[in-house]
C-alpha cells in the first residue's frame, strides 16, 4: 500500500513538473531576439539602413503617409502630423485594444480601421505592398523602444486564448509552438538554429521570402510547416497569437524593419 502511494506521489510529482514546464516562460535574462541567432552577414544587413531591403518599404511608406486618399481626401499626416513624433512607440504597443470593437487589433488592422473611419478609404489587402509600406514606416518609428503590451481584464481573455494556441499541438506533425520555441530554442532543426520566436522585428525582410512580410504571414508559414491548416489573414486566432507573442516579448527592444533568414 505504501508503494502504490509512492507511485501515486511520483506520478503527481511528474504531472506537477510537466505542468510547471508547460507554464514556464523563457526567463527574462535568457530572452534573445532572432537577431542573436543570425549569421554575422545577416545581422550586418539589418544594421545598415543603406543596405537593409526593408528600408525600401519604409521609404515607400513615408511617401504614402502624406498622400491624400479616400472620400475624405485626407492623408495620415493631416491628423497625425510628423510620424517620427506621433507614431513613436505605437508599433511596440500593438496589438492593442480597439475599444469600439471590444477586442485587440494588430497594427495592420488599426491602419485599415483608420482608413475606413477617418479617410473614407477602402481597406488595404493583407500583405499588399501599400499596407506593408505603411506598417513598415510606422513600425520603424518604434525602433529601439521596448515592447509594452498592456493587459487588463478586457484583454486578458484574448491573451489567454493566444497562450492556449501557442501551447496546443497542431497539424499533421502534431507540434505545439512551445515545443520548438520554448523547449528547444538554440538547437538545430534541419541545419537552422531554432529562435525563441519573439516578434521584435516585424514587419521584416525575410530572405526566404525575398521580400518584406508581416508577423501574420510568418505565423501562417509556421503553421504550414507543421502541416496545420493556416488561419486566414486577419483571423482572430492570429491576432490572439500576435498578442501573446508580443506580450511574451515584453521589455525586449523593437528592431523593425528586421532582416531574417
Amino acid at each position: 500500500m505504501s508503494s502504490s502511494r509512492a507511485r501515486l506521489g511520483a506520478a503527481a510529482l511528474a504531472l506537477a513538473v510537466a505542468a510547471s514546464a508547460y507554464a514556464a516562460e523563457i526567463p527574462r535574462a535568457e530572452r534573445r531576439s532572432g537577431y542573436d541567432f543570425m549569421s554575422r552577414e545577416t545581422r550586418a544587413m539589418q544594421d545598415d539602413d543603406t543596405a537593409n531591403p526593408g528600408m525600401l518599404w519604409v521609404l515607400e511608406g513615408e511617401g504614402l503617409w502624406t498622400r491624400k486618399t479616400g472620400a475624405a481626401g485626407r492623408a495620415c499626416a493631416d491628423c497625425h502630423g510628423d510620424a517620427r513624433a506621433s507614431m513613436k512607440g505605437v508599433a511596440a504597443r500593438h496589438p492593442s485594444l480597439d475599444v469600439r470593437q471590444g477586442r485587440p487589433v494588430g497594427l495592420e488592422q488599426r491602419i485599415n480601421a483608420c482608413r475606413a473611419d477617418r479617410q473614407g478609404a477602402p481597406p488595404l489587402a493583407y500583405e499588399s505592398r501599400e499596407l506593408l509600406a505603411l506598417s513598415a514606416y510606422v513600425a520603424r518609428q518604434s525602433r529601439g523602444l521596448p515592447i509594452e503590451i498592456a493587459i487588463d481584464q478586457r484583454t486578458q481573455p484574448f491573451l489567454d486564448a493566444g497562450r492556449t494556441i501557442y501551447h496546443r499541438r497542431q497539424g499533421q506533425l502534431n507540434l505545439a509552438c512551445s515545443q520548438c520555441h520554448d523547449d528547444n530554442w538554440g538547437r538545430q532543426l534541419a541545419g537552422n538554429v531554432i529562435p525563441q520566436a519573439h516578434p521584435t522585428g516585424y514587419p521584416l525582410y525575410r530572405l526566404e521570402w525575398q521580400g518584406l512580410g508581416s508577423l501574420q504571414r510568418r505565423l501562417r508559414n509556421c503553421l504550414v510547416g507543421i502541416r496545420a491548416e493556416p488561419y486566414e489573414f486577419g483571423a482572430p486566432e492570429l491576432v490572439q497569437l500576435e498578442l501573446y507573442l508580443m506580450w511574451r516579448a515584453r521589455g525586449m527592444l523593437f528592431e523593425a524593419p528586421g532582416v531574417r533568414p
Binding site: T42, P53, Y126, R220
Partner: protein
C-alpha cells in the same frame, strides 16, 4: 494575394498535364542546374582564348550562409587605377546555379578603387569564381567555396 487553389482544381490541372504527356502520374519537375563545364564555357565567352592566371582579384564570400537568397559578395582588385594601369572589368560566375553568369562590373580609372559589393543568389553549396580583366589585357581569377543551408520550413504552396 495568394488565392489558395482548391484541391479539386489543383488535381485537375496536374492531371491535365499528366494526361497531355500520356503519363499516368504527376511528372516531377527537377530544377535546372548548370555544370562546372558550363561555367568554364561561360567564362570563355567573356574572356575569349586569353590565359587566366590565378591571383590579383580577391573574392570575399562567407564560408557558410543560412539562406542562399541573399549572399553578400565583395570583389576587390588591388590596383593603382590609373589610366595606364587599371581594372577594366570584374566578372562573377557560379558553378551550380541554373545559369552560370552572375554579373559583370565595368570599371576604369574614374572608379578610384576596384572594389564592388553586391548580394547574389546561390542555389546550392558550390564554388563561385571571379575573373578580372586588367587594362593590359591580362585576366586573373579567384574562387571561393561556400556552404549554403536552406530554411527548415519552406513556404511552398502558400
Amino acid at each position: 494575394m495568394h488565392r489558395r487553389a482548391s484541391r479539386r482544381e489543383f488535381l485537375l490541372a496536374a492531371g491535365g498535364v499528366a494526361a497531355g504527356l500520356g503519363l499516368g502520374s504527376i511528372v516531377a519537375v527537377t530544377p535546372a542546374r548548370a555544370t562546372p563545364a558550363e561555367m568554364q564555357e561561360a567564362i570563355r565567352r567573356v574572356v575569349g582564348s586569353a590565359t587566366i592566371n590565378p591571383g590579383k582579384v580577391k573574392l570575399d564570400l562567407p564560408p557558410l550562409i543560412e539562406n542562399g537568397n541573399a549572399v553578400p559578395l565583395t570583389v576587390d582588385v588591388p590596383s593603382p587605377m590609373t589610366a595606364a594601369d587599371h581594372v577594366r572589368a570584374i566578372h562573377v560566375f557560379t558553378q551550380k546555379n541554373p545559369q552560370p553568369n552572375v554579373a559583370s562590373f565595368h570599371l576604369g580609372p574614374r572608379a578610384g578603387r576596384a572594389r564592388v559589393a553586391t548580394r547574389i543568389r546561390l542555389a546550392d553549396t558550390q564554388t563561385v569564381v571571379a575573373v578580372c580583366e586588367l587594362s593590359d589585357g591580362s585576366f586573373w581569377s579567384d574562387g571561393a567555396d561556400i556552404v549554403v543551408t536552406l530554411a527548415a520550413c519552406l513556404e511552398d504552396g502558400i
